[in-house]
């Protein structure tokens, strides 16, 4: 009975989180199309449901019933499992994200506001996020297509380059919070959000997060005008949709991390606004960052690949190292 409950509660939590994440992934594609359309003075999807609200469901169903083509000369096994290697790390990162402040009790079962709180939370997310790069490179290589190979190589080099600056940028936050656990990092921001103490780190984090998720203006791996679709040129049907699912799930994941590390997680910005539930604050912050991602997609042109790599190695890495050095020295002086 005891062990049964220990398994049952996480199982329910995992199902709920997975459902919520997939729902938001589906609807973030809708919001992206709508926001981009309105920025370009268009209406966007309008036909399926009121204001096109059922469009993501129609898209999902369509892709489910599409033929799944494995091109001739492709490495069948690697080609088949690459989308799953990309998708799984994007989903399981959500295991340590704290969505709210307090546990809730339903039918005598206590549900914590996170699936699990491990003391290496943020390291766990980054460790698994790196595995996604394997799926991208393997998928590009296995396709037996020149566009896919080039896209996969570019994506691999870009992801590892920006992963360095991404990893370095959050060390300032860790110095302040003295913990890797996501819950403790949020609690450490009780008085002041870390974005005010670590503005440079926040800027570096956001830029690297855009590059890590291969989004505009850093979407060289799938640059439509030169590489067709980059590493997933040869993919179709459900496997194609997995790359998309993973991209948007990663977008939501990096937004959640930004909200937790820099924007105070579920904390309200001011004391008098605390009557609004913590979960609402968390969702608002995540959607603010997601909107920012879509906004820069609608605003900025794509950069050149050599500019991207030079920027990553010659600007972001020295800057994030300088941020760590300054933060640690100032902290040592302030704390004595």
């Amino acid at each position: 009975m005891e062990i049964g409950l220990k398994i049952l509660v996480p199982l329910i939590e995992i199902s709920v989180v997975l459902g919520i994440v997939l729902f938001h992934v589906a609807y973030i594609t809708y919001f992206e199309r709508k926001i981009l359309s309105h920025m370009q003075d268009r209406l966007g999807p309008m036909e399926v449901g009121p204001h096109g609200l059922l469009q993501p469901i129609a898209d999902g169903l369509k892709l489910f019933f599409k033929e799944d083509i494995i091109p001739a000369g492709a490495d069948k096994i690697i080609f088949s499992i690459a989308p799953i290697i990309v998708l799984v790390p994007a989903l399981i990162g959500f295991a340590v994200i704290p969505f709210a402040k307090e546990s809730i009790t339903i039918f005598g079962l206590t549900f914590k506001p996170f699936i699990t709180d491990i003391n290496i939370g943020i390291l766990y997310i980054f460790a698994f996020a790196s595995i996604g790069a394997y799926g991208v490179i393997l998928g590009g290589w296995a396709s037996n297509s020149k566009y896919a190979l080039l896209g996969g190589l570019r994506a691999g080099a870009q992801m590892v380059s920006y992963e360095l600056a991404l990893g370095l940028s959050i060390i300032g936050v860790l110095l302040l919070s003295q913990s890797l656990s996501m819950v403790q990092i949020v609690e450490a921001q009780n008085r002041i959000w870390f974005v005010l103490l670590q503005p440079v780190a926040f800027v570096i984090y956001v830029i690297c997060a855009v590059a890590e998720t291969n989004r505009l203006p850093f979407d060289m791996p799938e640059a439509e005008s030169e590489l067709v679709a980059g590493f997933f040129t040869e993919y179709s049907g459900m496997r194609f949709s997995f790359f998309f699912l993973a991209e948007y799930a990663n977008m939501i994941l990096v937004s959640c991390i930004a909200a937790i590390l820099f924007l105070g997680g579920w904390h309200a910005p001011f004391k008098f606004l605390e009557f609004i539930p913590p979960t609402i604050w968390f969702i608002l912050k995540v959607y603010f960052i997601l909107f920012f991602f879509i906004w820069i997609r609608g605003t900025l042109p794509r950069v050149r690949y050599d500019q991207l790599m030079k920027f990553g190695w010659k600007v972001m890495i020295p800057l994030s190292l300088a941020n760590i050095i300054v933060t640690s020295i100032v902290l040592y002086i302030v704390r004595g």
């Binding site: 995992i14 199902s15 997975l18 091109p71 295991a95 040869e234 690949y305 640690s328 040592y332």
Partner: protein, 123 residues
């Protein structure tokens, strides 16, 4: 053996990984039952803007990617060392601060060497 800590906190992650893989594999298998399977050579040929594909796609690629991967491994180790240092920063005091500054200084020497040697150039 794990002091009762490891299994209870990490078990949900193992379960989540299994569920995520099952979700991925299950969706593809379920799709296999309903989707059409009509293939012919033209459909299976790799996309090359409507032309007949020439030569194998697995061609040699520039050395730069390899150098970037090498540099990534070197600097990622530095990042891994910085994480535990940041977490115990308050406890190890001035000694830890100076040690890490020396460590970063040594790595910066290597970084500027790579820069001057042109390893970070892309043209």
């Amino acid at each position: 053996m794990f002091g009762g800590y490891l299994p209870s906190n990490y078990l949900p992650i193992v379960v989540f990984i299994i569920i995520a893989i099952a979700f991925g594999a299950g969706t593809i298998v379920a799709g296999y039952l309903v989707r059409p399977k009509k293939t012919y050579p033209e459909k299976l040929s790799p996309y090359e803007s409507g032309m007949k594909p020439f030569s194998d796609a697995r061609t040699p690629f520039p050395m730069r990617y390899y150098i970037i991967a090498m540099l990534f491994v070197l600097f990622d180790i530095e990042v891994v060392f910085l994480y535990p240092w940041a977490v115990v920063f308050n406890k190890i005091g001035l000694y830890g601060l100076i040690e890490m500054m020396l460590f970063i200084a040594i790595l910066l020497v290597g970084y500027f060497y790579a820069w001057k040697k042109g390893a970070l150039e892309w043209d």
